[in-house]
């Protein structure tokens, strides 16, 4: 299996290089002068000349690319033109929000989607099955941004004075400022601890800041539900169809002929096999979640990678665009690699190769 991992890793290297190149190219191709975009009216020709010189924008393109590659490899993603801070700092600040959102959505999608798929699949063509599949069909067709807005309306306006009311935007209630764990525990302040402290819910949990935790949790519900809907529907459908496939196979017939109760047949014999494609789906869903995060964060006003990336694109802050897109794409590659690994672990037939 180590060899498999190595082989997979090596074959992703050209892809990663390709990603870096594509990101670099795209960022460079964005129309508009970064100097003028960053400095606005203050940008005169002389200032811009100096600006370009300073940021190496006058060098030939392949030199710029070479420098860029080196920088990326050493973890230097440049400085944001708009904020004037290193891109990595922005990343540290905002990535956790997106991860929390995506993780919550994925968890929701799997916890609800898989059992629904199993129930549907084991009761083929029954009423439950039909209803669930109709629901899944609708779920898969709903635009995330529409669902988000509708949820906002229902829970923040329609149910405003009921116990079901939920806040429609933001990460925390206004005025609530969480204390980072490194302050509470008197730990050194560095990139890693800052990064970890931005996981608001986890941070609040381990430092017993219950009010913060509750606020963060409640603010996460609507965006997570909105984001989770499409992946949930996909996972439910895939689980169901995979289960139905497997239930028609010979070894399921053998399991029944052995005298196993139907529950055992489905949950032990069929499911282990049926879940294999679903694991791969979950990996792919990650891509959907990242794309959806851009929309969700915009609607719910969450300062995560998605929203920041989008704002950066609009404002031509192209170091941020480069850096964030790179991180997103590479994490997608890593997630899929992990999924492949998991798949190999779960399926003995693949291990042999």
């Amino acid at each position: 299996m180590g060899r498999f991992l190595l082989r997979r890793f090596i074959s992703s290297i050209p892809v990663i290089i390709g990603i870096v190149a594509l990101v670099f190219a795209l960022a460079r191709m964005i129309p508009g002068d970064p100097c003028r975009a960053a400095l606005g009216e203050r940008a005169t020709d002389e200032i811009c000349d100096a600006y370009n010189e300073r940021y190496g924008l006058n060098d030939p393109i392949y030199v710029q690319f070479g420098i860029y590659m080196k920088d990326v490899a050493t973890g230097d993603l440049g400085e944001s033109f708009r904020f004037g801070v290193p891109v990595t700092e922005l990343l540290i600040e905002r990535l956790p929000t997106t991860i929390e959102l995506a993780a919550a959505a994925l968890l929701l999608a799997v916890i609800v989607g898989v059992p629904l798929g199993i129930i549907s699949g084991s009761r083929h063509n029954s009423k439950t099955d039909v209803v669930t599949m109709v629901g899944a069909n609708i779920g898969v067709s709903m635009p995330v941004f529409w669902l988000g807005l509708m949820l906002q309306y229902v829970f923040a306006v329609f149910l405003r004075d009921t116990p079901l009311a939920l806040p429609p935007s933001g990460k925390l209630a206004a005025g609530l400022i969480p204390v980072p764990f490194y302050e509470v525990w008197h730990l050194p302040v560095n990139g890693l601890t800052e990064f970890l402290s931005e996981f608001t819910m986890a941070n609040a949990l381990v430092t017993f800041q219950w009010e913060v935790f509750q606020s963060a949790f409640v603010h996460l519900i609507l965006p997570a539900v909105a984001l989770a809907t499409i992946p949930m529907a996909i996972i439910a459908r895939m689980t169901r169809s995979s289960l139905l496939d497997v239930l028609g196979l010979d070894y399921v017939r053998t399991a029944r002929a052995k005298g196993l109760p139907e529950r055992s047949v489905i949950l032990k014999h069929a499911l282990r096999n049926a879940m294999l494609p679903v694991v791969t789906i979950i990996g792919l869903s990650f891509g959907l979640l990242l794309g959806g995060a851009i929309l969700t964060e915009t609607i719910f006003n969450l300062a995560g990678v998605g929203k920041t990336l989008f704002d950066a694109i609009i404002s031509r802050d192209y170091t941020v665009v480069q850096g964030f897109t790179l991180v997103v794409a590479i994490s997608f590659v890593i997630v899929n690699l992990l999924v492949d690994l998991l798949y190999t672990y779960l399926d003995p037939r693949v291990r042999v190769s």
């Binding site: 196979l249 053998t254 399991a255 002929a257 052995k258 005298g259 196993l260 282990r272």
Partner: protein
């Protein structure tokens, strides 16, 4: 052959009717089948694909699923009516008192579990053993069916096994709880000829040593000739002939049986044409009135019989234990 003639048959199927209710019509897969299997007897059930032999065996274990249904007849196992049992009672019988093995042994084993664990599972459900005990018994079973280095093999996954090995594992699984009846559905069809011989020998040993009755379902007359005590020939959902093996091959009565036996190429025998049965198996939804084999029956043409297409012949005794379903042997036809 040590056939123990016994008064009480282990399995008695009478008038079994299993139909499939599909969108295109009702498929009468098994349409009035009578079969008996004695204790320690090996019954061969022969016929082409689609004649209903597999459906018959699946009906015995009540493994027929939507849109299929057993609509009539009775199945008695040791005197007990299987069709009246609850699902829970039926489960106690499957794998424990009646077992089944299938074609494509590698595909019939769960790919994510080891061979040993799948055998051990039988002990766990039917004999409530602990996992340690059942594992030990599973290893024992693997040795009994002739797999060398059993303990190591038990840890193998099905895709790592050869076809013959996998079939032995299936047999081990089927015999684990010492069943009284083993139903073998095309057990050798997917295997190489040399391996086939080994599996057949193994099955004979099982009957000889353990006294297990066996129903062997196959389209291969060679297999049947090798191992079966009695043979029943099925066509389009019905039994058309039944006799002990020697008699069937020496003196086949039904034109279909004759055709089957006649179409076996014999090494060394020179002929101009391979004798085949013309025509095709009838559509089980749209069955012809009268004898189901009539459209393809050369003997009917030669004898100039008209009753064959008008009435359905019954299964009648021709001599001793030899029964045939054919108007050629029935007085009224003349």
């Amino acid at each position: 052959m040590t056939v123990q003639a016994s008064d009480d048959p282990i399995l008695e199927i009478s008038g079994l009717e299993t139909y499939f209710f599909t969108r295109d019509g009702v498929v009468r897969a098994v349409d009035g089948v009578d079969l008996t299997v004695g204790k320690g007897e090996i019954l061969g059930l022969v016929g082409e694909s689609g004649c209903g032999k597999s459906v018959t065996s699946m009906s015995v274990l009540r493994l027929i699923q939507n849109p299929g249904e057993i609509v009539g007849g009775s199945i008695r196992f040791r005197g007990e009516s299987l069709l009246d049992l609850s699902e829970k009672e039926m489960r106690a019988i499957r794998g424990d008192r009646i077992s089944m093995i299938f074609q494509q042994p590698v595909g019939s084993l769960n790919p994510v579990f080891t061979a040993g664990s799948q055998i051990a599972e039988v002990y766990e459900i039917h004999e409530h053993m602990t996992s340690k005990e059942s594992k030990a018994r599973a290893d024992e079973m693997l040795e009994k069916v002739g797999i060398p280095d059993a303990e190591r093999r038990a840890k193998a996954y099905p895709h790592e096994l050869s076809g013959g090995m996998a079939q032995r594992v299936m047999i081990a699984m089927a015999l684990a709880a010492d069943p009284e009846l083993l139903i073998a559905d095309e057990p050798t069809t997917a295997l190489d000829v040399t391996i086939q011989a080994q599996i057949i020998d193994l099955m004979r040993e099982i009957r000889d040593d353990l006294g297990t009755s066996i129903i062997i379902i196959t389209h291969d007359l060679g297999v049947v000739a090798e191992i079966a005590d009695r043979v029943a020939v099925m066509y389009a959902g019905e039994i058309v002939e039944e006799a002990d093996t020697k008699t069937l091959f020496a003196d086949p009565k039904h034109p279909y049986t004759k055709g089957l036996i006649g179409s076996i190429p014999v090494a060394g025998l020179r002929r101009e044409w391979l004798d085949v049965i013309p025509g095709r198996v009838p559509n089980l939804i749209d069955l012809p009135t009268g004898c189901r084999f009539a459209p393809r029956c050369r003997a009917r043409e030669e004898a100039g019989l008209t009753i064959c297409t008008e009435q359905r012949p019954e299964l009648r005794t021709v001599e001793g234990e030899h029964t045939v379903r054919c108007f050629l042997y029935q007085e009224e036809a003349r």
